[in-house]
Amino acid sequence: MRIGVGLPTSTRGTTGELIFDWARRADAASFSSLAVVDRLAYQNYEPLTALAGVAAVTTRIRLATMIVIAPLRNTAVLAKQAATVSAMSGGRLTLGLAVGAREQDYTAAGVDPRGRGVRFSEQLAAIREIWEQGSIGPRTPRAPEMLVGGSSGEALARMARYADGYMHGGGPPRAFATAAAKAQAAWRDLGRPGKPVLWGMGYFALGQGSADAGADYLRDYYAFTGPFADKIAAGNLTSPGAIVDFVRGYQDAGCDELVLFPTVSGIDQIERLAEVARSFS
């Protein structure tokens, strides 16, 4: 299993400078990918724009969206943006897509959330089509890897039909294992050869005093889930031991790439995580 790290694009107080600094360190350390989250009605950086910037200061690391809320965006423009990031990074983009869970983002974008599942399916087919046709450029060394998130039967069928694999939305290893079995079942059911690529995610905050700040951030970020926000905040990994257990759990559950997202802004966070990650590589 590969281990990636999230960019602090939605945590509090992140400057552009921190994003570049963070990206350079991730590229220099052993992390396999740098990932960004997406929401619209929130104080975070736009994911593909952030990755375009990050592409300029990194050389090797994979750049991933985990995920981009596709139905908020015009399909052809989204395909073009992704192709651009892919071309600028030498084919390092993994484009994770999903419908998202927040009504406010749809309201802010002026997009009707009804029928978003059906529209999303059409988008997935269209984006692949655009990349393969090449009339909406730029040409990229290879098409971005396209992964899909979501947990319903519909979402899994959509993933197996059009994507290269599955992105899980977070939770304990056991929850990931259940989702992975569903993704594999859907993949097989639709007659895709091989197996779906499986990505998982977790949150961390390391170092003195960061646990509380991290929990505050998660409670705020997930306020839209109501009673679940506290539980998500309680799942924040706040010690090296907790990270080690989590990583092993995901490894056993068949995860291909696990991305750990910061819950506190600060360059020390990636240094501390790199220190813990050294024991795995």
Binding site: G117, S121, A157, Y162, A163, A181, D189, K231, A233
Partner: protein
């Protein structure tokens, strides 16, 4: 700290005693609306694991409990007047009344205040406390007072049930199934002390009404059930205790705490009585809650951790309880089973016990299950008393063809290899790479496939034939599925002109001439298959391909004789079937949609009718698959996701089935086969 506990049942009392132990300075008050010696229900069951938790949490009450409990290790299943006993299961039961007395005494010793016969109508009556523990049951005040925070969902189950006691000391957890003129009745009975047992009677609502039990008094219900089960009860009596007929409700809540209110036990969640875990889960909740309160200074953090720890455990039990209650709702489906197979099916109903678990608990029972399975499959009655292989390795005979084992897979050693979808005509291909059986060039290709399969000793080769219909002319599956070809495509046909996806071409509606040509194509494919040495033919009438498009009301909008009700929609599929049946003497399997998994589409009940019609036309095996009829179908993917459909079709339509849907272990295969849920299993890697 001040704690108020609402409800003096096992969960509330256990919380009170533990929190006093953990924090002797705490003020703990338990408020119960009933008197101390009121009991509803008879005995409760604990597993070994729960007893261990009780021992660790409070040794004093544990010793009192084990002095007065009943312990047994057998499950008896009485079916068709024969009794099958399965051993090796450890249960303990205790009278609910005795348990409550022990816990009340222990609470008083430890200094918790118990107030009985006090009804609380508003939580504010409990005064200014740091934490209120809602232990007042499924319809209690605690849960009802914060519905917006807890987001409870209640689901009612279909059957009716009643709790009786009996003055008979059973020596096993006993299930009794009995049919009379009103319907099928079942008993769940278990001992809880040296003299008395719990005796729950359950039945379908129709049987309950037919028997007049909807209008019966308590005495009349007792008289009815005593008569029905007199051969088991003998001279013993059924005892009542405000025993009225109930409908079980499963409660699930998104959250179990809000501010200073936390729910435990039935107030937070319920699980169907047939897996007997209500009291166990309730007491374990209290143990976990006190544990979390000890570890966290901050009450909110403690409550969140309590929920995080307990919710996944409870969800697993609720899932098993859901499987178990569905089993009892649909049990009449298995009435034609032999008592032994019926027993194995019952024991493995909730997926918590599998073939392997049972082999460890009760090896002799599993040996007789193996032998009976082998005897049934081979019609060799001598096998009944011989040592037999596990069901997975028992051969299957279908229309004269012997399949060496029950597995279909691409792994060498499987009894049956099923080919990829093979088109009956060039326009029936899914992708340009789809193999075909329509031109002379295909003969060699097919012969080679047959030879490759036959090179494995005992392996048979099945050819899957079909026509892609509106899902044709797409790119190969490694590039994604249902992605239309950009060039080099071909015109699509379907029952009606409805495109599969926004990007797909609109198919042309089949004309009577097209349909005649298709019958020829299927017939021709069958002749070719026979000439090439194919062992079994599978017709793909599923997954939204051409024949399936006739069967679903979502895709068949025809106004001729081939559209309309299910009978009309089945007409063309059956014509194809008949054409093939005539040209092909060997075993014939049909892949059908178990359900369209889409609103307005075909249901599992339709699939039972479809399977029945196919059987009447000479179909040997049905292979149900889920959805794909339309693009936005919503299959419930997961482990063994196709097995419930196979189970229902096999046992309601009375036809052999191949189950598929993420079956990945030999243990799963053996469990499915021995329980009679399928005859063949597709094993995925």
């Amino acid at each position: 700290m001040r704690y108020a506990v609402l409800g003096g049942g096992p969960a509330g009392l256990y919380f009170a005693l533990l929190i006093r132990k953990a924090d002797p300075g705490a003020d703990v008050q338990v408020v119960e609306r009933n008197p101390p010696d009121a009991t509803f229900g008879w005995g409760v069951v604990f597993s070994e694991e729960t007893l261990g938790a009780l021992r660790d949490a409070d040794y004093e009450s544990y010793t009192a409990i084990i002095e007065s409990f009943a312990r047994w290790n057998a499950i008896d299943i009485v079916f068709h007047e024969s009794r099958i006993r399965s051993r090796g299961h450890v249960f303990t039961g205790i009278s609910r009344k005795v348990l409550l007395a022990i816990l009340q005494r222990r609470c008083r010793e430890l200094g918790a205040r118990l107030e009985f016969q006090r009804e609380i109508r508003d939580l504010s009556e409990l005064g200014d406390v740091d934490l209120i523990v809602g232990a007042d049951g499924v319809n209690g005040l605690a849960r009802r007072s914060q519905e917006k925070a807890f987001l409870p969902r209640l689901t009612s189950h279909k059957t009716k049930y009643v709790w009786f006691g009996t003055d008979m000391a059973l020596d096993a957890f006993t299930f009794i199934f009995r049919r009379n003129q009103h319907g099928l009745f079942q008993v769940h009975a278990y001992p809880f002390d040296a003299r008395t047992s719990t005796f729950i009677v359950e039945c379908a609502e129709e049987a309950w009404r037919a028997a007049g039990l909807d209008r019966a008094t308590e005495e009349q219900s007792i008289a009815y059930c005593s008569e029905l089960f007199k051969s088991e009860l003998g001279r013993h009596k059924l005892l009542s205790n405000r025993s009225s007929w109930l409908t079980f409700q499963t409660l699930r809540s998104a959250s179990w705490h809000h501010k200073n209110l936390v729910l435990v036990g039935d107030a937070a969640h319920t699980a169907h009585f047939s897996i007997g875990s209500g009291t166990k889960l309730a007491i374990e909740d209290s143990i976990a809650l006190v544990d979390s309160l000890r570890r966290h200074q901050d009450i909110q953090a403690a409550l969140t951790r309590y929920e995080l720890e307990r919710q996944p455990v409870v969800e697993r039990f609720q899932e098993a309880a859901g499987e178990s209650s569905s089993y009892f709702e649909d049990v009449s489906r298995y009435e034609s089973f032999s008592p032994l197979q019926f027993a194995f099916n019952l024991l493995t109903r909730s997926r918590r016990i599998t073939y392997n678990n049972l082999s460890q608990r009760d090896p002799m029972l599993v040996r007789s299950v193996d032998s009976a399975f082998a005897a049934g499959a081979t019609s060799d009655h001598a096998a009944q008393v011989r040592l037999s292989p596990p069901p997975m390795f028992v051969s299957l005979k279908v229309r004269g063809l012997e399949i060496a084992n029950r597995v279909t897979s691409l792994t060498p050693g499987a009894g049956l290899v099923i080919s990829d979808f093979t088109a009956v005509g060039p326009e029936g291909r899914i992708t340009p790479e789809t193999p075909g059986v329509y031109s002379p060039d295909h003969l060699d290709e097919l012969r080679q496939k047959v030879q490759r399969a036959h090179a494995q000793p005992g392996t048979r080769f099945a050819l899957q034939i079909g026509h892609a219909g509106r899902r044709g002319a797409t790119r190969p599956a490694y590039l994604g599925v249902d992605r239309p070809l950009r060039w080099g495509g071909w015109p699509l046909v379907s029952a009606s002109p409805v495109a599969y996806s926004a990007h797909a071409r609109v198919p042309r509606e089949l004309t009577p001439d097209d349909m005649r040509l298709l019958l020829d194509a299927f017939r021709g494919a069958a002749v070719t298959a026979a000439a090439c040495g194919v062992d079994l033919l599978e017709l793909n009438f599923a997954q939204g391909y051409l024949v399936a498009s006739f069967m679903s009301p979502l895709t068949n909008l025809r106004s001729d004789d081939y559209g309309g009700n299910l009978g009309c929609r089945l007409r063309f599929p059956l014509e194809i079937f008949d054409a093939v049946r005539e040209a092909w003497q060997g075993p014939l399997m049909v892949r059908i949609s178990a359900t369209d998994c889409a609103a307005g589409g075909t249901t599992l009940a339709d699939a039972v009718l479809i399977a029945g019609a196919l059987k009447a036309h000479g179909c040997d095996l049905v292979h149900p698959v889920m959805g794909q009829t339309v693009l936005e179908s919503k299959p419930d993917y997961g482990r063994l996701f196709g097995v419930p459909a196979s189970d229902r079709i096999r046992n309601e339509a009375g036809i052999a089935t191949l189950a598929s849907g993420h079956i990945t272990t030999a243990d799963e295969v053996n469990t499915i086969l021995a329980a009679g849920r399928a005859d063949l299993c597709q094993l995925d890697d």
